[in-house]
């Protein structure tokens, strides 16, 4: 069971560097063929400093730790019951290969539905780059099916 007392809990910041190899593996995995995401020269001629991080890859970089589910497990969530319910990204800038991003996450809300059969956990994350520029905000809603 989740505990409403964990609302406001701040997780350890996660720092991830944007590696070119990861970007090209991600492009392959999602079937991306647009050369802006694959070829340095094309990205640069489009005005990027390097290969851009595609829109949803920020979510993946946030998982760049030994156990990306540790934070949720520490709140009493078990993976068997976990589903992703909602996801939002709000962008203020674009990250590129070579950037070092820091993810600061906090438990925004916890609530119950259907008399406890469903528990909801909302996590809000802001993403900052190595120049302290605000790149994005992520909001993740997870549902735990009891």
């Amino acid at each position: 069971m989740l505990d409403k007392n964990d609302i406001g809990k701040v997780f350890e910041p996660i720092t991830a560097s944007v590696e070119k190899g990861r970007l090209s593996r991600f492009a392959k995995a999602i079937g991306e063929k647009n050369p802006i995401y694959l070829d340095d020269a094309t990205a640069k001629s489009a005005g990027y400093d390097d290969l851009p991080v595609p829109p949803t890859f920020l979510f993946c970089l946030k998982m760049d730790v030994d156990n990306p589910f540790e934070n949720y497990e520490s709140l009493g969530v078990s993976l068997e019951k976990l589903l992703h319910a909602n996801q939002s990204f709000e962008y203020f800038g674009t990250a590129v290969a070579g950037d070092i991003l820091t993810f600061n996450s906090v438990v925004e809300d916890i609530y119950i539905k259907k008399g406890g059969a469903l528990e909801f956990l909302i996590e809000k994350t802001n993403v900052i780059n190595q120049r302290d520029e605000h790149i994005a905000n992520l909001v993740t809603t997870l549902v735990i099916r009891n």
Binding site: K28, I30, P55
Partner: protein, 143 residues
């Protein structure tokens, strides 16, 4: 590249259809994304969680929605993507992504477009992901 004047309410984005999702797709996505949740790659774990088999990462289909958008506009004009995962995507599903322009507004001299985005099962039409994308076509909004 498409401009604000080119866009009208009701316009459809070019549809993106993907290959069938195989176990290899999920293994590649797990490796590339870092999302090793065994529910997506380990049939034994999936069964112990009461599922018949592994199922696709919701974020894989959301990545397809990202491709739908970046195929249509420059990534730097995407201001927000906000979606709900409405159904699990099983193995061997084929996903198609669609977008329809719902709003076109000048807000504080910002050229803003709102698009309804959906990822659906190609065969059944069942909606897997539904949400909105806010596109800001004002030139140089980030600089």
């Amino acid at each position: 590249m498409i401009t604000f004047d080119d866009i009208n309410i009701g316009d459809c984005l070019p549809v993106l259809s993907t290959e069938k999702i195989s176990r290899t797709t999920l293994a590649l996505y797990a490796g590339a994304s870092g999302d090793y949740n065994p529910i997506h790659i380990d049939i034994d774990f999936a069964k112990s969680a009461g599922m018949d088999d592994v199922f696709a990462h919701g974020m894989l289909s959301m990545a397809y929605l990202g491709r739908l958008l970046t195929h249509w506009v420059d990534q730097r004009s995407i201001q927000k993507i906000d979606v709900r995962f409405t159904a699990i995507t099983p193995l061997f599903a084929q996903i198609i992504c669609t977008g329809v322009v719902q709003k076109k507004q000048l807000i504080d001299e910002q050229e803003v477009i709102e698009v309804l985005v959906e990822a659906k099962d190609f065969n059944s039409g069942e909606i897997k992901i539904s949400g909105i994308a806010i596109i800001n076509l004002t030139e140089n909004r980030n600089s």
